[in-house]
């Protein structure tokens, strides 16, 4: 969490090399203080800590294959939503409609399986995902063409989607009548792992590849880091932002299909309740590994919290249903508060530097200051 510290060390290092005036140094791995290295892996340590603590407290019921399988498979859909939220966040846009979007995909799946069972379920799944993409496109157009703040646009959209879901389900649970073969795709174990976990890892790997190894991913991070500079560098900021919201909708749609495979029942509470845990995982995960929103940080952060919740529930009995929101709320607050504190400190010190070094600054021309989203500055 000590970004400011690392920066001061980094600038000291660059000054030192400037005085030697040799130009380039070898690409030695940057040395970092141990506390920072630990901070970058805090979610891993937290996860391991939970396993050790609850393993000691309840070895008989916590340290079992079935508990692990259960915790993983229960978390898959939420973790997928976290990945959906992550994609536009790299470009500095928030998609708060991921939960409702998953609900949309789920209600379509259940509706067709219950009332129009003649349509092949694979076709329905593809249709549901395409429908989500379409809604994502509307989100994107609202944000880039109508200049609606992404928070507001997607929050509004989530309510519209809720309405559609309530209408379609008639405000009742829909028990989907899925074939055994289809349900098997969501409940089976492969190599001892729940099959849905494999889906999640594949999805994560694809998103990771796109974000970290393709031009599109790099351009998304550029838009998130400095949108105006991105525009000046020739990037199509509007298309990137819009595309990221479509991609997030598609991933949420896939999450809905997986939910249908795994559980098979639609209820109106299913989607929106998953938004917050997903969001907490992304923000916590953004402080991990590369210190910007990233796939593996998100997944590790999510499952660290999920194992903590599971352990607490097992250790303290069925009366602890309130543990989960408390846990996830605190994780989000602590992760973001620590990050913001660091950002605030660097801002102040930069302002102080500017004032002392630049006694007569040129008046800035009027215009919006480069808006930066504090979360991206975690990076």
């Amino acid at each position: 969490m000590s970004v400011a510290l690392s920066q001061s060390i980094a600038s000291a290092a660059s000054e030192a090399s400037a005085t030697t005036a040799v130009g380039v140094k070898a690409d030695a791995p940057p040395r970092q203080p141990i506390s920072m290295v630990l901070g970058r892996f805090s979610a891993v340590f937290l996860w391991a800590g939970f396993i050790v603590i609850f393993g000691l407290l309840k070895p008989d019921i916590f340290l079992t294959v079935s508990t692990f399988r259960l915790t993983f498979s229960e978390g898959v859909v939420t973790a997928m939503l976290a990945l959906a939220f992550l994609i536009p966040l790299t470009a500095g846009a928030y998609d708060l409609s991921v939960g409702a979007m998953m609900g949309l995909s789920l209600v379509v799946m259940n509706h067709f399986s219950a009332y129009h069972s003649s349509v092949p379920i694979g076709l329905v799944a593809i249709g549901a995902i395409l429908l989500c993409c379409l809604v994502g496109l509307v989100n994107g157009l609202l944000v880039v063409k109508f200049r609606v703040n992404s928070l507001i646009a997607t929050l509004g959209m989530s309510q519209v989607l809720m309405a559609a879901e309530l209408k379609m389900s008639d405000n009742r649970q829909i028990l989907g009548s899925f074939s055994d073969g289809f349900q098997n795709l969501g409940t089976r174990n492969v190599f001892g792992l729940p099959i849905v976990m494999i889906y999640l890892l594949v999805l994560g790997a694809v998103i990771w590849f796109v974000l970290e190894h393709t031009p599109v991913g790099r351009y998304l991070f550029a838009v998130g880091g400095n949108a105006e500079a991105a525009r000046l560098a020739g990037l199509n900021v509007e298309r990137l932002t819009c595309g990221s919201l479509v991609a997030s909708a598609a991933v949420a749609g896939i999450a809905g299909v997986v939910y249908a495979m795994k559980i098979g029942t639609f209820s109106a509470e299913a989607g929106p309740g998953l938004l917050f845990p997903a969001l907490a995982a992304v923000f916590f995960g953004a402080s991990q590994f590369s210190r910007r929103p990233n796939v593996w940080g998100t997944l590790v952060a999510y499952f660290a919290l999920a194992f903590g919740v599971k352990g607490l529930q097992l250790a303290f009995g069925p009366g602890t249903f309130w543990i989960q929101p408390l846990f996830q709320g605190l994780a989000l607050l602590i992760a973001v508060a620590l990050a913001s504190r660091v950002v605030g400190r660097t801002r102040r010190s930069r302002r102080a530097q500017r004032e002392t070094s630049d006694p007569e600054p040129e008046p800035l021309e009027p215009g919006e200051p480069a808006g930066q989203n504090p979360v991206i500055e975690l990076a």
């Binding site: 031009p215 790099r218 002392t356 500055e377």
Partner: protein, 512 residues
């Protein structure tokens, strides 16, 4: 008794002396002009008076004979020192009366209800004192610049008419057309007749000579002269501001033979502070643009690179470039670098490598994947050829010093192999050593098939590397200096300061 008396005012910023024992005496009912080049210390004087900075110990000040504590905003206000800053500080969404009542007490009735009728009457009366006659319910955003200026002045006036103030106007005419300048001066004279004292900061010497009773000249933080305005002429004042007479024999370097191919053509550019600029930059040529604050110099480069919208034509090799689109400019092979790195250049969340290749990584993509090793190789070549000091190709961008960040951005522009390179104050906030290196990079970058447009506030920089320098004033090019003929840093300084006077005062600068 003097309205304002400042003695022995010094200010040091981290060891650098910005103001050195400056004194300023403004008589009762006097218009006192404060003039000097960019960086001469004018703004620092104003900022200390306004309480934004504290002075070094030893300074003293008095308003109407009562001691004033410098560096305290409240003390300045209660002693009757009022400010109209260059940006005016008006809230554009509020009406004139609401703006005027900011910082004043609204007349209130039962239960704290604002008596709007009374408030409007007060506003009308106050505005009349500043010579402004408009409906007080007008939203400020709908007013013209001249009316806004007078509204800001009205807001600075004391509540009671018989209270006298010292009114400080910082560059009040920078954004005003000539006709409105006359109106503003009418307002200033009216306030002067009412017994107020006025301190005016301005770059426009003809205006200063027309309105001021006394003129104080600052140069490099020192008070060079304080003199009555009627006893000095334009040339003498220019000489005082710049420091010495213009050396006519200067310009020893040989003129540069540029190829006869025009690479960049600007025709009647217009927008913002730019009124009408036409120019041609030939391939192999470095053309500089200079001008004081408000001359239009600030926005010219951005209009060429597509960051800001514009009227008029920009053409590269005869082909017009679509305005307002950085993508269009880039595909016409116009690459830009801005001195405002943090705002328009760098990506703080990415590393040096990603910052350097941003916008054009296609050459390193294989099967949809960025070949990081190949990319890193190219970045290392740039790092060594431009002498970028960094821990490595993958160091965070924020770990580099300002000068080295700037070199990364120059590399980003150069690797596009642009036909036209547009540099907007590229060495702003860059230390001396790195500045030299950036200059060398620009000079070697101006190869035979490249045209360079260099906009800068640094006259020495322009004189050193440019083949020609265009001097801007009030949105137009008023002079052209050529290497080997009359191009020196002093000549640029002189031409900038004198530029405003050369303008026909009847012309109203607006876009048609």
């Amino acid at each position: 008794m003097n309205a304002l008396e400042i003695q022995n005012l010094s200010k040091t910023f981290s060891g650098q002396i910005v103001l050195d024992r400056v004194g300023l005496t403004v008589g009762e009912g006097e218009v006192h002009a404060l003039v000097g080049q960019n960086g001469s210390g004018k703004s620092t004087v104003i900022k200390i008076l306004a309480g934004y900075h504290a002075p070094d110990p030893g300074a003293s000040a008095a308003v109407h004979g009562r001691p004033l504590q410098l560096g305290s905003a409240t003390d300045a206000h209660t002693s009757g020192v009022r400010f109209v800053h260059q940006d005016l500080g008006l809230v554009l969404d509020l009406s004139a009366v609401e703006n005027l009542m900011l910082g004043r007490r609204y007349p209130k009735g039962f239960g704290g209800r604002i008596k709007w009728r009374d408030a409007r009457r007060v506003a009308r009366e106050t505005m009349a004192r500043a010579g402004l006659d408009i409906d007080v319910r007008t939203v400020v955003g709908d007013l013209g610049v001249a009316d806004r200026t007078r509204l800001a002045i009205a807001r600075a006036l004391p509540e009671r008419d018989d209270d006298k103030v010292v009114l400080v106007l910082d560059e009040p005419t920078a954004a005003l057309p000539a006709h409105d300048v006359d109106l503003l001066f009418g307002t200033i004279r009216r306030l002067q007749d009412a017994g107020n004292s006025i301190v005016i900061v301005s770059h426009h010497l003809d205006e200063v000579l027309g309105i001021a009773d006394t003129i104080t000249v600052l140069r490099d933080g020192k008070q060079v002269a304080t003199t009555a305005a009627h006893s000095i002429d334009h040339d003498t004042l220019t000489r005082l501001i710049v420091g010495h007479a213009l050396d006519v024999s200067a310009g020893a370097q040989a003129p540069v033979e540029a190829s006869a191919t025009p690479a960049l053509r600007l025709a009647h550019l217009c927008g913002g502070a730019v009124v009408d600029v036409s120019a041609i930059v030939y391939a192999g040529e470095i053309v500089g643009v200079a001008g004081l604050a408000g001359s239009g110099r600030e926005v010219l480069a951005s209009m060429v690179t597509g960051r800001l919208p514009r009227l008029g034509e920009v053409a590269v090799d005869g082909l017009p470039v679509r305005p307002g689109s950085p993508r269009a400019a880039l595909s016409a092979r116009v690459a830009g670098v801005s001195g405002e790195r943090a705002r328009y250049g760098t990506f703080p969340n990415l590393g040096v490598r990603q910052n350097l290749t941003m916008g054009s990584v296609a050459c390193h993509v294989r099967y949809g994947r960025i070949d990081a090793r190949k990319e890193r190789g190219e970045v290392r070549r740039w790092i060594s050829s431009l002498g970028i000091v960094t821990r490595g190709a993958d160091a965070p961008m924020t770990s580099l010093s300002g000068g080295n960040q700037q070199k990364v951005l120059v590399a980003r522009a150069l690797r596009l192999e642009p036909r036209v390179l547009v540099l907007d104050d590229p060495t702003a906030g860059v230390d001396v050593g790195a500045r030299e290196q950036v200059h060398r990079i620009i000079e070697t970058g101006a190869t035979e098939d490249r045209a360079v447009l260099l906009v800068s506030t640094d006259s020495a920089e322009l004189a050193r590397i440019c083949h020609r320098v265009l001097i801007m004033s009030r949105g137009r090019v008023v002079r052209e200096l050529r290497r080997g003929h009359d191009l020196t840093a002093d000549a640029i300084d002189h031409a900038q300061v004198a530029g405003a006077a050369a303008m026909n005062s009847q012309e109203v600068p607006t876009c048609q």
